[in-house]
Symmetry: D3
Subunit: 243 residues, 6 copies
């Protein structure tokens, strides 16, 4: 099967990092097609950037000509899954939700550790709407921007581990979710510091997407019906720089 | 004061209709500046169209050169408020939330009556995230598309009234919110049918925006901090048709 | 329009203070008629005093001969709105609810800072019943009695600011509600200390009441039907001292 | 032990009815002292009447000179427990809460069947604040006023049974609470119609009050501290007719 | 009446301790029949041990030949009530639920203080399923195993009091539940340290069971219907050591 | 990898049916080891039978000598996962939770359709404790016992489809979970009737178990720590018939 893995930001290095992480866990017959939006922000931290990304992701996926069996959205706490699900007939798995689903399978109460404080509300929102907030005891920020997490993995691992330890000791978490794309490499560091399982959203989403495909399950069109035909101006976005 | 009233779809007739409705309730010193996005769908019903609208609304508001004191988002159940709030230093009032806030001030349990069934989930999501789902007993669809509500007010009033009566009798609602921009004209018809107060989102949002301005209250930058400076490709969207 | 502003305690100085604060934010055509109950406690902090106030407020409002367009209940965390709403055909806006509604319009998560610890449960109750508890992260007490807040504004401002800072830093609030009548003057002090918007209940309630009146919205009689005619002994309370 | 049983309305016949019902279930050493408020409404159905009753009940209990070990509030869905609890050092058991507690001990999901639709919101409020709403599947009204329930027990039993059957069949209730004082006599009729246990609030409250007394448990003064000494005008209410 | 009091573990000394505590609060006509399961663990702390206990308790109660009026399950946070309730026609009162019900009658917000951290999740689960989690502010562990609580009451009282004080001061509890069988003796020590009421589950359950019996209330067979006749292998467990 | 698939009842035909269904969806390298408890009921419908099954399942899995990588519990709405998770160091995936997790990935709101009404409460309990109740709109019973579902697949498919259609049309479900082991064969029938995705718990659980194994994720020992060493009488159960 072929899984499209969509980075939410425009930084190719992140796309390549998550492609490798996804490929490392994918089953033998699974091809990972990692793509980068042709417009948007180099890292997605604000809602402003996130709304842009929602459109850019739809734009990018709509441009794929080869068939595929599922889509994985690699961003964390992102808007946009519902819109993409309306456009496609294959499962769309969001990394935020995937991490939380897998965390619930492993323990009783999970926490999320992420980049900047400004993303906390958005992550809580996504978990709440996905019906997954019940077992979430906290969402904590390291204070490190997304690209710094990528650029300085040593510092990233240290800060993630520190917050994860607090999530376990003070908030009562027994599973930790890493709340940012491209952090799969750091999971073992956080696991060593906390002695609890650590879930990376992108790899979790790839695993769940494979499961859905293997079970021949499609997204519900009662939940995500295709858009009705109507006059739309300015879509697709033909002339954005870089497209 | 000047309030920017943003239509979510690209149909100018809707913009004009809500402009008139807003002007009818605005206080003496309030100017309503109604604007239409320069790209997007003629009516916003799907999540796909709604993600487009979120960007198109940010795009359109960012292009306003004159100062303004508040923004009212006229769509119902729309994504996008958080992003716009990050870009601005003035209150951004969403019509969905405004209708529900006002409904809570008038009764114990409110219901929303809206256009198509496909919008129900999105509306419930917005109410839940705004912390307003507790007193909402139901969200009901008339089955009429947005533009048909505009085009055939007689039929619209009838179907809205029918569903509103069911919301009162079967769901226990004691206030009704009209869940679609441009329906203010129909409120009295629904009120006559149900004998409960009927709230229109756009006019409610204009009233709340005026209140916030008069109280000198700004949106919380702890909740909606300005985006950090970073490389963004393809924004603003310079060459979309119609911009 | 004329708005009746009802103090919950019998201290005339508080009535005068809130009258001035309300008048300062009211629109040009709005007259504030501030009234003091003719019996009850000099400050309302216990449930015992609050039940007395609920009756005293109904008693006092029922004695008003001039027409009015809305009532604002200035107490915070008070019982009694439902009863008064049954007796009247105009909007009754409670300051507790008003503060929370406005807070939700400004940010994601609000906190309330109030007088004594003993009032916390009652305030949480009111917010829960109004459907507004979802976004409330904490209700904190300064430990200062109501009249001391009035008498020593300097100390009041300091303690309110201290608790508000804790609400922001430890509880994650991004908006603060001042949980006591007559504290509007202190809002700017708390705002300076926290850098988040600070909402005063009385002024918020006046603004919302004006909005409801301007939108021609009445309270739902399905929610608050007039009492049925029946034998009532000892009402109105004719001979209470001071009446 | 002596238990004070307080009727919420001023109808002596109701006081006598509940006294008999309470006495029938009380243990051998338990004396029931049933009292009627000296002012208020002949039946309590509105919030207005209920706020009056809250004060009248405090007034009446404060006038009792003999020692007592617990108080049972016989009204259903009433305001006022918190205030009375502040004034006393003995358990105050509300019939609404008592019925729901006992129902939770007998099954998984309970429903309440009561008098008029106008009381539904108040009953739901009380259950929610008591932390007992989770297992409540519905609150249903017979449409019969309180005094008619008393006056025409045959019709009352029939309507209660009809609604109780709906609560079981449509709402999934497996226990029924009778939501009005003085209905204990009708429990067996409703039980015969539904084949599920039927709980009367007054008798349940008497049983729970006895348990608390026998366990030497006092109400929490951290939850219900005595009012602080302060100037109170018009309390006690010396000259209300009938006092 | 005769109440069967079932210890969840196989330690006879615990059975004797709870028997004495139950007898001390039981009414004059109440006989306490305390029984010990014939298989299982010497103390029940894990879910593994608890699942064993659920069966062992059903096995032990099924072996009782004399008639009885109610059953009290003395374990705290235990699985198994539902199964036993299906087998019997008399009330089955679980000590966990009983403690929480009584706590809700005494204050606004209760906390549970128990033995090991590993039991916290199970206790929270029981409270949630019983519909009693709403007013529970925390469940805290002393870190002392069950048998150590029995063996060293001095140390037990000290650690319970320490955690109870934290529950009051930091979590806002105004009632404390002792979350382990056999701790009734320690209640006064914890009460002295916290100045709030302290509820022991076993004695609370005995009191509630007596109330249900005196009110002639049976468990709902709609909630807990008798098992259907069917082929069961290995039940009753004829040859387990000790049976 | 090797996955142990545990039937909850003692009917070998059911074990064989679910083994085939599991094998049909398992990946190429996955071996399914299906086992039947050596004691317990021929079908598990009551809580009584379910408590027996919890122990019988632990007993049966503990007897497996070969290594395995994960366990799938095939029962629906069963007690017992927590205990087994304490005894093992590999993932334990419950079919109830698996179905709900997968349903959440496919739509917004799911319903469960199951065998007898008596199992509804138990299923709701499991979903609530797993943090998955938020998006569950209903749990519906066909009224058919478990073994009849197996014996008469035609009738089973018809009744399942009827209830599923009601779940979609009346409750608003957009995904259906089949709430009983061995119903995978019937999914396509229900899907044809409803036009929404239909999830079978056993096959979903096998897929999720494979994902967890491939991601090298272990259950949290902070959530499910191994039992402490202690005296246990009558375990393992050496002489139960058939063991």
């Amino acid at each position: 099967m072929r899984i499209v893995l969509v980075n939410a930001n425009t930084t190719e290095a992140v796309t390549e990092a998550i492609r490798q992480q996804a490929a490392a866990v994918a089953g033998p017959g699974t091809e990972i097609l990692a793509v980068t939006p042709s417009f948007g922000a180099e890292s997605v931290e604000s809602n402003f950037e996130n709304h842009l990304a929602a459109v850019a992701i739809m734009d990018r996926v709509a441009a794929i000509r080869d068939p595929f069996d599922a889509v994985v959205l690699a961003g964390f706490g992102e808007h946009g899954k519902e819109g993409l699900a309306e456009l496609l007939d294959v499962p769309v798995v969001d990394a935020t939700e995937a991490a939380a689903h897998v965390a619930c399978l492993l323990g009783r109460r999970y926490a999320v550790v992420t980049s900047l404080r400004r993303t906390l509300g958005r992550i809580r929102d996504r978990l709440a709407l996905a019906g997954l907030a019940g077992n979430c005891v906290s969402v904590r920020a390291t204070g490190l921007p997304v690209l710094q997490l990528e650029a300085d993995p040593e510092r990233a691992a240290q800060r993630l581990a520190e917050e994860a330890v607090l999530a376990v000791d003070e908030d009562g978490a027994d599973v930790i979710c890493l709340g940012c794309a491209g952090m799969a490499e750091l999971a073992s560091r956080v696991e060593a510091a906390t002695s609890v399982p650590v879930v990376d959203g992108v790899t979790a989403a790839v695993g769940l997407a494979e499961t859905l495909v293997r079970l021949y399950l499609q997204p519900s069109k009662a939940a995500y019906p295709a858009p009705r035909p109507k006059a739309i101006t300015g879509w697709p976005l033909p002339s954005v720089p870089g497209s």
